[in-house]
Amino acid sequence: MSEQKKPRQETMTSAERMGAILMRQRPDRIPFMPFIFGYCARNVGYPIHAVYDDAEKSFWAQMWTAEMYGYDGGAMYGYASMGGWEFGGEIKMPQSEWEQAPVVKSFPAPTPEAVDALEIPDVETAGCYPIAIEFAKMQQKFGMPIMVMGMSPFTSAGNISEVDVLCRWMMKKPEVAHKLLRKVTIFAKNVIDYFIEHFPNYPMMAFTGEATSANQIISPKQFEEFVLPYMKEFHDYILQSGIRNIFCHICGEQNLNLPYWAQMEYGDPGILSFGHEVDLTTAIKYFGDKHAIAGNIEPQIIQNRPWQEVYELCRIAIEKAKDAPSGYLLMAGCEVPVQAPPYNIYVMKKAVMDLGFYD
């Protein structure tokens, strides 16, 4: 970018800006929260898996990268394939240049019998949670709110049985699917209890997210039966536990499911992030009165296309959503790919600085 403009002056720190969103106040500019994990490890010279298997490296890689790019929102721990490891399966950490997040290597409950035998794990020792707890201690040590990684029942169930197995149970053995979903929901609530108990009276936010419930996979009717009741119950439980805000990532093509997502609670306010498949105007129509909206710059564009296209997508997103009633955060539509060109992330911030201030 060659054009020289006098930079706009920020009048809030990142913490104040995020705080303003959560207090339903107008910040100096829209927050920029890219949704970025593995990239941070690569950015500071760590192996990508460090962001998932080493709490301290994960925390600092994210904090340093946030400082470098000047984005908001700090650091958080988690990944999309949670559930498999926590319930006794095996996970594979990202190793090759083509991998960016952990994947389930062996599924702990691929049969109805295994679902019957599945025990609710102890949070303190389950899968990634010892790392998540260490990460939370880092957040506490540095005075940041703890982002509790909540296990979303449906996606986690798919990570426990394998998605195609879960899909077949939904059709042929719905009682098995429900049994698994119930067990995951119990564990998900136990996670909330654990954090409340071990970090008493400390500011917290909960993160939930759903990818497997996208309409690329299931129907809205299946969402109503297999996702809505468990997710709703989980969100209600989080809020009743005293956590005031939920950050919920509604991943992928979810347009047909939006009427059901609108039946859930997210706190006061929640932050709801969307993939590029859901138009921000639509998201604001459904949720904008009560909750802040985040999204939805397509990761594939961030990774593969010239910076001008990324900037233009950001411009369009900001134009559509900047004045959302409960606020807007510029964010990628899903995790920023680890191989994204650094300049493409920089221009997301630049778009915020050029176009995201409230006058």
Binding site: G38, P94, S96, E97, W98, E99, Q100, V103, V104, V163, D164, C167, R168, M170, M171, K172, N215, Q216, I217, I218, S219, Q222, L256, P299, Q300, Q303, N304, P337, V338, Q339
Partner: protein, 223 residues
């Protein structure tokens, strides 16, 4: 030999069995087809495959979703298991061979499996390498089997970056091999940029694209 009306009834039952994901019905009418002398190849193509084609339309129209399509696929395979061994002589000649797999770094294989099924039912010999497949394996398998087509699948934005690399590796060893790519983040533009010969927007489209690719190859006298 079944009379025409009875044959139509049997083919319709196979079609319906797939569309309604009624595995028992497909098994019953596959046996009926054989018992009554219906040509096995015809039963597959005009019964099972025709039914799956309609399932593809239902998926495209968002009337069916992955759970329904998987059930239809199970029903189809139940029929194929019975009918395929009885496909005879000329008709059993394969349309082509395809090496298929989800690229290294990607464990998502539902889409790949549906594409594989479409190749199976269309009469291709399919060499399925599974998921998270090391790039060298695609090269080795293509050379070993002399398959005309290598079909690569990726769901993740990171793993899709393996595609141009493996395309380059395959073409370096066998410039005549045809590469098809597909998966959620892939578009025609991405396929073109990666140097792929074909792009499968969905499972049904994959077979049409493959047949066209092989036809083009043969027209050029390369096969």
């Amino acid at each position: 030999m079944a009379d025409e009306a009875r044959k139509k009834e049997t083919l319709k039952a196979l079609y319906d069995g797939v569309v309604e994901f009624d595995e028992d019905k497909v098994v019953e009418y596959s046996k009926t087809a054989l018992d009554e002398g219906v040509d096995a190849y015809e039963a597959i193509m005009d019964g099972l495959a025709a039914g799956m084609e309609h399932v593809g339309e239902l998926y495209a129209n968002q009337e069916y979703f992955v759970p329904e399509v998987l059930m239809c696929s199970d029903a189809l395979y139940a029929g194929l298991d019975i009918l395929k061994p009885h496909v005879s002589g000329k008709e059993s000649k394969v349309k082509g061979q395809v090496v298929i797999g989800t690229v290294e770094g990607d464990v998502h294989d539902i889409g790949k499996n549906l594409v594989k099924m479409m190749f199976d039912v269309a009469g291709f010999t399919v060499h399925d390498l599974g998921r998270d497949v090391k790039l060298e394996r695609f090269v080795e398998e293509q050379l070993k089997t002399d398959s005309e087509i290598v079909a690569l699948s990726a769901l993740m934005t990171t793993s899709m970056l393996a595609m141009p690399k493996v395309i380059e590796m395959i073409k370096a060893r066998n410039p005549n091999a045809l590469i098809m790519v597909g998966g959620a983040p892939i578009s025609q533009e991405v396929a073109d940029n990666y140097g792929a010969d074909g792009y499968a927007k969905n499972a049904a489209n994959a077979v049409q694209e493959a047949i066209q690719m092989i036809s083009r190859l043969r027209e050029m006298g390369r096969a």
